[in-house]
């Protein structure tokens, strides 16, 4: 049961990570920086609960605020460049954050024990859930409540003008500019929102996994973050969720057959999917097919 719950938790956190990249992908930008914001959110929330003894919700909240501000600041230089250069910039930023935490030390004596992030050794003993008597089910529920809230918010925003503005910028910046959309503001806003969501994911992750290590925040995680919405397509938030379940399930199953070689499978999978369906697995074509299939099934039932 614990193993199963762990998997559910990972899927939840990765869905949030994927959603943070999804918002940016709507505006047509591929950001490999989400793992960096994830790391900042994780360390901030963990430092607040461990060193300052905060309650978890305000800690995660402040974590989200800090990653949002960071994303806002990073957005300006990063978004001066387009497309591929943005990938390089965000990739570099992600690595910068990882190297920062590789060097970051803040040790504090608490009740006779030293706690806090310790550079290369990482940040262990993030025991908030254990110390406050949270059961595993409660942790999973907390994570998934947030996932549902974020998905609902994004879905709702997509039905309003905000969604149209984001997608307009994503489709054609020049055209969007001519109808009066401030492209720069939209892109920075998207980056900030993406940063906030990633910070939320990071805060939850830190407490769920109880120890942070810079190895967790590499380009691989950033690639996962962007692979989910690319695989899932930008037509719907549910695509990202399905993609997370698919990839995590695949990796878990792959572990059984291929053991350590499953990363090979992941790399090959990306290559194959990109060649076969460059617009993502759940592009508008696929969604239409699903809708038609469901309609046929229901109409047969009625008649």
């Amino acid at each position: 049961m614990d193993y199963f719950l762990n998997l559910i938790n990972t899927i939840g956190i990765h869905t949030l990570l994927g959603l943070s990249a999804y918002v940016l992908l709507l505006t047509g930008q591929l950001s490999l920086a989400q793992a960096g914001f994830f790391a900042v959110g994780a360390y901030t929330a963990a430092i607040l609960t461990v060193i300052f003894g905060w309650n978890i919700l305000p800690a995660i909240g402040l974590g989200m605020l800090s990653t949002g501000s960071l994303a806002f600041l990073v957005g300006f230089p990063a978004l001066r460049v387009r497309g591929l250069m943005l990938v390089v910039a965000t990739l570099a930023f992600g690595e910068f954050v990882r190297m920062f935490f590789y060097n970051f030390e803040w040790r504090v004596i608490q009740e006779g024990v030293e706690v806090g992030p310790e550079g290369t050794m990482g940040f262990s003993e993030i025991r908030y859930f254990a110390e406050h008597g949270w059961t595993n089910w409660e942790v999973t529920s907390l994570i998934w409540v947030f996932v549902v809230i974020v998905m609902a918010l994004i879905w709702w925003a997509d039905q309003t003008r905000s969604g149209a503005v984001l997608r307009a910028v994503g489709e054609d910046e020049l055209a969007a500019g001519t109808v009066g959309i401030d492209v720069m503001v939209t892109k920075v806003a998207a980056m900030t929102v993406g940063g906030v969501i990633a910070g939320l994911a990071g805060g939850l992750y830190a407490h769920q996994i109880t120890m942070l290590d810079h190895h967790a925040f590499t380009v691989l995680l950033a690639t996962f973050a962007i692979a989910y919405p690319i695989l899932g397509g930008v037509s719907s938030v549910f695509g990202t969720l399905v993609a997370v379940i698919f990839i995590q399930g695949l990796l878990v199953e792959g572990l059984r057959f291929l053991g350590d070689w499953r990363m090979l499978l992941f790399g090959a999978l990306i290559v194959v999917v990109m060649n076969v369906k460059p617009r993502g697995l759940f592009d508008s074509q696929m969604l239409r097919w699903i809708k038609n299939a469901l309609r046929l099934r229901f109409s047969r039932g009625l008649s």
Binding site: F76, G83, M85, A92, F96, F100, G267, M274, N275
Partner: protein, 298 residues
């Protein structure tokens, strides 16, 4: 006064050593920029193919005790073949306008190559034959390392050969034509796919040489070098300007010196952070890089 002089010598020595080592970054940067210039896409797997070339040459060295020249030739050739395979799997069949999908596919290629290397070598670093390591020239208070000088000379020769191919042969003419305007090139009867695959192979050759150079200068080959090399290569390409070969050369030499000075002043742990910070400085003040063509369309 003596202290200042000592520091001055040490720092200029770092700059000089970094400058010579920077030729490896310059070659990687040229490779990235060639592919970007020809196709408008980034091949994130490029540095990985370069290192894979170095690994295959190391294998040849271990099993057959090959000589220096053979090592470089094998590295270049295998990286060229790998480059062609990456083109086939990640770029050939993806629609031309879809840059992101091709790039994502090349990220997949990077993981694939990385995993293969990690598993073949069980993740442990291997020592690479260092050439001319014993040679050491003294010029006043400075010392010039023979192996770094060798690496620099190879870089010069490779760049010279590349420029010759690019500007004095028909293949180079075709590559430049496709880079400038592929529709017109096709109208003139050039095959885009064969020109692009040749560009990938040529970039692969360069990458293989760069991979062997890096391994020779550092003395070891380890899979953990792959990602920093990719990132630094990309940083060099962006700083030099996407699509500009002189930009990549100058940026590569500059980044090499810069990172070495930073390493002397702040230690190796923080060195790469400053290189990334340098990228962001350029992005703020000169987003098109030193010589980049102004990017007007995504």
């Amino acid at each position: 006064m003596d202290d200042f002089w000592f520091e001055f010598v040490e720092i200029t020595q770092s700059i000089g050593d970094g400058f010579l080592f920077g030729s490896t970054y310059a070659l990687i940067g040229i490779g990235f920029t060639l592919i970007f210039g020809a196709m408008g896409k980034l091949n994130i797997a490029y540095a990985a193919t370069a290192m894979a070339g170095a690994y295959s040459s190391l294998a040849i060295f271990i099993f057959f005790d090959a000589s220096l020249i053979i090592i470089f030739i094998v590295s270049a050739a295998s990286a060229a073949i790998l480059g062609y395979l990456v083109y086939l799997s990640c770029f050939r069949f993806i629609p031309v306008h879809n840059h992101l999908a091709a790039m994502m596919a090349s990220v997949g290629g990077l993981f694939f190559i990385d995993e293969v290397i990690v598993h073949t070598t069980r993740g442990s670093p291997l020592s690479f034959p260092s050439m001319f390591a014993e040679a050491y020239f003294e010029v006043g208070p400075y010392g010039i390392r023979g192996d770094l000088l060798f690496v620099f000379v190879i870089g010069l020769i490779s760049t010279g050969a590349l420029l010759y191919v690019l500007f004095r042969t028909r293949l180079g003419l075709a590559t430049r034509a496709v880079a400038q305007q592929d529709v017109a090139a096709r109208l003139c009867g050039m095959s885009i796919h064969s020109t692009n695959s040749t560009t990938f192979a040529v970039a692969g050759l360069l990458g293989g040489i760069a991979g062997a150079m890096t391994a020779a200068a550092v003395g070891i080959l380890s899979p953990v070098m792959m990602l920093p090399l990719t990132i630094k290569g990309l940083i060099v390409t962006v700083i030099g300007g996407l699509g500009s070969i002189p930009g990549a050369i100058i940026a590569g030499l500059f980044v090499g010196s810069f990172e070495n000075v930073v390493m002397y002043v702040r230690g190796i742990d923080e060195r790469d952070m400053y290189v990334v910070a340098l990228l962001f400085v350029f992005l703020i003040f000169r987003p098109n890089g030193l010589f980049g063509k102004t990017i007007t369309r995504d």
